[in-house]
Symmetry: D2
Subunit: 338 residues, 4 copies
């Protein structure tokens, strides 16, 4: 008996969650929602994915555009065990009551506050904390990226402090409206919310973050300085990450000089949509000096949280008790090798 999953919001994350869930053998997609009759709605029709209208005008605009719908969000909620909220940041919180009223479990994205669900999720760091819960929140792409590298380091070596700068993409690849075209824009509220967001899962971590937005669409990139509690060799760091899930080492000397070549490499990997579910760390950009580690990591903002969403469903719906086994199962189904 598969867990029945609905997706509210068939956009950047929603369509990826849909594909990933469809690859698992213990869960199935019942339907997805869309507010307007865009090409993505049309594509859902072509792929045979039941589409539900969630806009204020219901199915009328879809009908006018020749797109079939199977009902409204309410109809979808009546058929699912769990809904994955993939609405735009901040909108998810407004739906919480709707989900609660429908008596379905719900996963929120990192665009919502920790308080919305009361518990935040990362597959490696705290899989158990969402066990059987009605609500949980998969942390944002950037927080997921920081947790993937920092949690294992803290566990294996012991971290004193972290200083990270997040260089964020200005817009996603499919967005032609947002800028900047030629500027760097800092997040003036300091320190930025990214540190506290990591602390929603690692509350003991001393982490300081700053962030800027730049004119690129491909990936976020983090510069990270870690102060350990003791001296550490570069090799020790690499050995820790060797065993950590969903990390992928890339090398400048093999021609992977920037986020451009990482995404080129990802396209060659033949995953759906050319996605990179792993966090990419430059192996020849990792360096320790005494107790200080410097490294660069790149985050594919469109997809790194997708396997975490799958794991989160498993934890919330009590499908698999062991975190490592869920990660393994998800990875295997999605073709994640690392």
């Amino acid at each position: 008996m598969k867990v029945k999953v609905g997706i509210n919001g068939y956009g950047t994350i929603g369509k990826r969650a849909c594909t990933a869930i469809g690859l698992q053998d213990d869960m199935e997609i019942v339907g997805v929602t869309k507010t307007r009759p865009t090409y993505e709605a049309k594509m859902a029709n072509e792929l045979g994915i039941p589409l539900y209208a969630s806009g204020s005008e219901g199915s009328a605009p879809f009908k006018a555009a020749g797109i079939d719908t199977a009902g409204t969000l309410e109809d979808l909620l009546s058929k699912v065990d769990i809904i994955v909220d993939c609405t735009p940041g901040g909108v998810g919180a407004d739906y919480k009551e709707v989900y609660a009223k429908a008596g379905v479990k719900a996963i929120f994205q990192g665009g919502e506050d920790h308080g919305t669900a009361g518990v935040s999720f990362n597959s490696t760091a705290n899989y158990q904390e969402s066990w059987g819960m009605q609500f949980s929140r998969v942390v944002s792409c950037n927080t997921t990226g920081l947790l993937r590298t920092l949690f294992p380091l803290d566990k294996e070596v012991g971290i004193q402090s972290v200083y990270a700068t997040l260089i964020r993409r200005g817009a996603d690849p499919g967005d032609s409206k947002s800028g900047p075209i030629n500027a760097i824009e800092p997040s003036l509220k300091l320190p930025t919310h990214h540190g506290p967001d990591v602390q929603s899962i690692m509350p003991w971590l001393d982490i300081h973050t700053m962030a800027v937005k730049v004119p690129t669409t491909l990936m976020h990139l983090h510069t990270v300085v870690v102060k350990f509690k003791r001296n550490v060799a570069t090799e020790e760091v690499l050995a820790v990450w060797e065993k950590a899930p969903r990390l992928c080492m890339v090398n400048g000397k093999e021609g992977i000089k920037s986020s451009a070549q990482i995404m080129e490499y990802a396209r060659d990997l033949a995953r759906s949509r050319g996605d990179l579910f792993e966090i990419a760390v430059w192996k020849d950009g990792v360096k320790t000096v005494g107790d200080t580690l410097y490294y660069y990591q790149a985050v594919h903002q469109e997809s790194d949280v997708v396997p975490e969403i799958v794991d989160c469903i498993r934890s919330m719906c009590k499908l698999e008790k062991d975190a490592a086994k869920s990660v393994q199962k998800t990875n295997s189904a999605m073709g994640i090798r690392f």
Copy 2:
């Protein structure tokens, strides 16, 4: 008995030709070459594609980087019926003699002059002209794009003159070295070579082209004005294109406003590397006034020539006499629906 194909240059076009040929049932990949031990060479190893070293230092740098090679370009040439030259523009001509000496057929890319092969190729316009030939040249991505829309219009309606501006991408997605970052750069040699390149296949066509380079990586975009020999309705133009192969209509009103959403749509189509082998034409950006047609088309420079390469192999190796049947066969294997 499948035709044995080698690929000289496993880069942007080479790796796509490799994937596409691997999907056909009447041809097979014997091996590919690479000059340096990059991540793409490593990937060839991982995918089990025999890799041959074509750089001046042979296999030594590959060995040093832990990458296996199966020999040199000469070794590869001794095993194939036909080689697809995917070396950088202008380099292919230098190899012609090597291919001739090895007694293999060779396909050149649009970066070479028409004179290099003596015959140029487009699946729809002149499939027969490469029949049994030792050398042929698949015209460039832009020329292929122009032929896809213009040839059917000329055949069905009759074209008087064409005025086209090519707005070219500054670099491919995997290239982080080339600019411009913030400029528009015109091709000062006028009229540009694109018109004559179209004439290498449609010598009778009166076509005038200009070109600029802009800071984007996704696609080229063409603005085209066609003067017909008679008045034509918009619907008639759309009807001609409806029947033409490898064209794909997109709609601004469905949210496809720019090349960004076209490539997003292509990624959703789940082809290899998120490619769009078709030429995209904005349906709600097609307009006729009297005898004059205006339209915009977008060209995925990384992939639109790939199915043409497959067809060209079929024509040169006498695998299929009928152009339409080859196109159909290639499309079907590659998942091209239009």
Copy 3:
């Protein structure tokens, strides 16, 4: 006795008009308006330019930000002979009645329709048509650019038809909000409004325009094909432009390869804000073949209309009867050499 000028909207065009008018000996700036207390409002204070609050909350938000205001728009209108409307596109029309009621002359920008003023203005093409008028409209930056090169050619040689593509900047240099970051976006309504806008001044001209938006901030660039009524030599075209005002020839072979080097050159010219009031034409990108001319021109969207605004004031306020003399006077004051 100088003509008293006010500027409604101290933004990209407004602040430039303010500077340019301040350099003339037959007109003077009485004040400028701003809706919100931005750094530009602060700068007006620092420069000693009387600032009037035009937002719905009046001077309160300015006071709160420590910025002095001299009153409201109504106060400003009571002190001027003519107001230059530099509000955002489409907003100007809403102000027409306000200006009419205040009994002042008003100049609108190209963001408004021709019908708003009833007469459109270009210094060279139709200076006389605004003579003594209460309202006039200085056509947009792109239309001004096309008129500067086409009007003289038509007058001296005789134009049959024009085919132009406008490659537009996505945002101005000081705008970090608008995109696209990595896309080309066509103007789907065809043919675009630019042709008819040129016809608001040259109604007899057969002109066909298409347009795209690209990720750059510096300049618009036009590709233009002109069909003349007779064969013309490249030298003849250059000779016509040699005598035409506010055109500036640049050369690729001197290192001016793109809009980037044009604006670098402009900065070296030591005009205010690094502006280029002239239309830049690539001299080694001008070519005639029989009766057909091909050329590229670049338009500094922030500033090319500014000297036209000055001339328009002179025509509307009957300060100078002769167009050429006004152009000469404006150029001389602004340091325009061409």
Copy 4:
């Protein structure tokens, strides 16, 4: 009697140094060099600045392009007291012997190693160290930026450690060749050379730097975390910077959200070329928590070192003993208010 100054390399820095030096009353420009007859060489002619040919072909290519030269680099060296080397990074070192042989003083730029001159220069931090020296090196734009904010903080408050990330522009505004168009590229050699470069002037400072390159042309932006030796209030930091030279506070709430609005503001300031010689710090992006300070600063890479070059000449040529007086004199001549 004015100090006679020559400039070797009339490019981005060279032409700005030329303008700035020309504004001082105790030094004068004797001439500038250029290797090729570009538009910048032509502009030197137009501005009446003596131009010397420094390329291997001498004055011949200039003559061919109709550009006047006054001799070669050797001729220029024979006429000056001091030469400002503004050749591309790494090239300056090759010229050291030439300058030594000619018996002239020389200033190198930050593209050369500290060892080239043996002493590095910053107006505020170590003006005296270049007193009377034959060679000195004005540190790079980024290092100058870091020194402007860090040196006063260390002097007044006492710094424990600094963690800075440099988000660098991919190309200068006048460069249309370099990328990336759509990528973020890390500097893999860690920690980057920027920390040690700051230490060439503040050898006692514990500073850790990382760096990435992004697709923008306007400015570099630094994210900086400072650990002080004691707790510090935000106001105390602002008070220190209030008195520090060549810093300029900007405010997000006044609409200066990014490097785009900073440079727009700079253009409004009406300096030559729209330059910003000051380091811009976001006032509402400065925050202390206990002993930790976070701030963002933006560096106009084309111009921030220019006033430092002027001061360095004064120190090396013993024109003014007091650093503060030289800074004051330079600022006053160049219109620097902060």
